[in-house]
Subunit: 471 residues, 2 copies
């Protein structure tokens, strides 16, 4: 028989049960937090017209899977969730404003695949569209905070305002046309350190491999103003705002950015967001050119997960949706890096990876009585206990328990003719076996020795199992 | 400004919040049922190699979105979930067997788009792979039953075995090569009625538009045997098996199909599945040629949703996965028609369509105090109540309540300077307004008249709101 050789595209992956079960725990925790703030779900098609996908600029085309649909249209797979959101805002004019939506869908990018970097990945975006209130930005930051607390991670959220960075440009006498270049240098502070940044602002520098990184060519006084700004000691949120007020005092056009940060501070205080976890960091610029106001990102601070980079991030983009809607529509939002969060949590042992959802495996000692075993399984399911009836080929209970152990089911039910006659079942707490250091091939002895095993009347079965799995 | 014109491909759709919220309720109810039987989730990429997609035959290519990926490979969007499942089974040889998986993912088919028929739709498949035990088939039927009960629908599940239909072919002296044609005629019984079927088995007939439907050309005695079989009175599950035993008595090769049905009956009895809802129907064949054993389908029986056709269906396909795995891998499974189920439930008023998930809208009477309103919202969220802070442009409370009403939030919190000073808030039960017949433009009066409204101390706010939303 000519079998079709199973293979999968480079940069793509299957999510097997253990992976997707763990992932679903992370996603649903985050979804619940955003729903508690009143965000609602949206889903858009995988395929969009090419002209929609390139609505923000031709540059994206390099990474888009473009093709011609059978009807003849030039189309492609969506590469982000912001373009479809903009299309939706433009297309359905009667959506409530503000429109607070979350969207959890795959996107496709023809990037160089790396370990941990895929060409198809699920993006989780949250955005509030149609309000310029800083309350919206503060809510997104606050919900980011709540998500990370709920996931049990150590983290820091850092925020800033592009307007404050614009003020820095004014304050340092830097041309508006150069400000994005300035922001990109500033954004490297954490990775490169202050000395390298100083060189990149001025004459340029050589990197570790000897390559030249051109500098912005700023004068000494300009560089020193920027470095002073970036060296500002970490202070309380309000402390930073007061320092900025002093620094920029008397400089025209610097009031708005400071006011944004002050407003956000007020909302964060009202929502009891800790100063230790959520701080202003004036070096945060975020890469994308389209941000217009507050920008924010979350990093993990645990030692084992240092170097994971930003796990959530975003900002306000008041001029972007206009390209679709034809009118100014202010918006702010964030993307959540589900893959990074999940692998950090796996590294920290915060998510259990087991390829099963069931709590109980009903083993089959006597195949002639399969119906009786299915009846037991049915009783357990009716009591709300997730139950799998063993349907594999193994006849020995030892091998069936090995299967239970492998898929991570915590409880096995065992019954043979004797038990059936007496109206009893044996319940085996498999976590007890797991805790012993006995090799798996000896497990059969453990079954026979009935370790972690207890025989109870059938009408006490549910109660006994509940007491084990609720532990 | 040159705005990009928002448009979407023919046969594709956006799922706006009200639609996706309703859909998620249906999907999660079904998922919970299948998880209670020990099924685990799987996800596979949207894009597969063309040779994988055509692994079961070239015929599928007409409906597949095929294209060339930038790396040069011939690829396409997946059009079902059975092909990827087969690939996964062949690719990961160490998956537990049986592998009981559910998969909820979009698929793409270049079909003629119709109202209610889309080129991108979410498929919900459940399959048990690697066992030939009828316990697996019975579980899929039983879980179908549990899903429909949980969704509150009136339904009937009908099952049969392809082997019994093969027995009918033997019994009627019909050539094996003709049996699929026979099954396709039998499958039309419900739609066409016994008389038309009789003609299609024999000389053929003309349909209502005068077109000729060719017949199978069977002899009178053959036709009469088949008609007798199809006219068998609806009986209890075991009754049907006994009748079949009598009918096929002494005919070689007819035992296996009957044995399958008998086994399934035993399991269904053990799982206390009602005889009224789940019956043997000997005319069920299911369209696909690849079924080899039990076949089953669920239809809705409510008067308002007659004509919705089958909402869940499937069967056993023991020879299909072999094309990928190179070895025989028995499997059985079903597909759930989420779109049909959802639209039936909407028609029956069983799912509430509201474009919001929040339970409370905190209105803003005094914009200078936005921080105080955000504090109230935070208190409610901390108590587990989903809460949206009003961030729209409307200043009047009347208009804000109109917004609350529109997005379907059941409770509004109202507070002005007076309330803040006294440490109180007003809580408005918006369902009371909904129940009045007052036109929406007069609602402002209702606010002023404080209908459904109650003023309580802030520390009783959570308790009051909980008592309203738990109603």
């Amino acid at each position: 028989m000519n079998a079709v050789k199973p293979k999968i595209l480079k940069g793509f992956r299957d999510l097997l049960p253990d992976e997707i079960i763990a992932r679903e725990k992370v996603v649903s925790a985050i979804r619940e937090v955003y729903e508690s703030y009143g965000f609602v779900p949206l889903a858009t098609p995988a395929i969009e017209y090419k002209e929609i996908l390139l609505g923000y600029g031709e540059e994206a085309s390099k990474q888009i899977y473009l093709f011609r649909e059978p009807d003849g249209g030039e189309v492609g797979l969506k590469f982000d969730l912001t373009v479809p959101l903009s299309r939706v805002i433009a297309q359905y004019r009667d959506l409530p404003r503000p429109f607070k939506r979350y969207q959890i869908q795959p996107v496709w990018r023809y990037d160089k695949p790396d370990p941990g970097r895929f060409r198809e990945f699920v993006q989780f975006d949250i955005d509030t569209v149609g309000t310029d209130s800083m309350a919206a930005d503060a809510e997104i930051i606050s919900a980011m905070h709540d998500c990370l607390v709920r996931l049990g991670l150590d983290f820091r959220i850092r925020y800033n305002s592009r307007k404050v960075l614009n003020s820095l440009a004014i304050f340092s006498g830097i041309d508006t046309g150069m400000s994005h270049a300035l922001f990109r240098v500033i954004d490297k502070l954490e990775k490169q350190g202050l000395e390298n940044i100083k060189l990149e602002l001025g004459p340029g520098r050589k990197d570790s491999s000897g390559d030249t990184i051109p500098g912005l060519g700023l004068g000494d006084e300009q560089v020193s103003k920027i470095i002073d700004f970036l060296s500002m000691k970490q202070q309380s949120r309000d402390g930073t705002v007061r320092t900025l007020e002093k620094l920029f005092a008397g400089v025209d056009g610097t009031g708005e950015g400071i006011a944004e940060l002050r407003e956000i501070n007020g909302f964060l205080d009202a929502m009891e967001i800790s100063e230790e976890r959520v701080v202003i960091d004036l070096s945060i610029a975020r890469g994308l050119d389209y941000y217009t106001g507050p920008v924010f990102e979350a990093i993990l601070t645990g030692k084992e997960v240092a170097g994971y980079g930003s796990v959530m991030g975003g900002g306000r983009y008041d001029n972007l949706i206009e390209k679709f809607a034809g009118e100014k529509v202010p918006a702010t939002g964030a993307s959540i890096g589900i893959d990074r969060l999940l692998s950090a949590m796996q590294k920290l042992g915060l998510v259990e990876a087991r390829p099963s959802i069931a709590d109980v495996l009903v083993t089959v000692m006597d195949r002639e009585r399969l119906i009786d075993y299915q009846r037991i399984a049915h009783q357990l399911r009716s009591a709300g206990i997730k139950t799998e009836l063993y349907m594999g080929k193994a006849k020995s209970i030892g091998k069936q328990l090995k299967y239970a152990d492998r898929i991570g089911v915590p409880v096995a039910v065992i019954a043979g003719s004797e038990e059936f006659e007496r109206g009893e079942v044996s319940i085996k707490d498999l976590r007890v076996i797991k805790e012993t250091t006995v090799d798996i091939k000896d497990r059969k002895d453990y079954v026979e020795a009935k370790i972690g095993q207890k025989t109870v009347p059938v009408d006490r079965m549910v109660e006994e199992i509940e007491s084990i799995i609720s532990d």
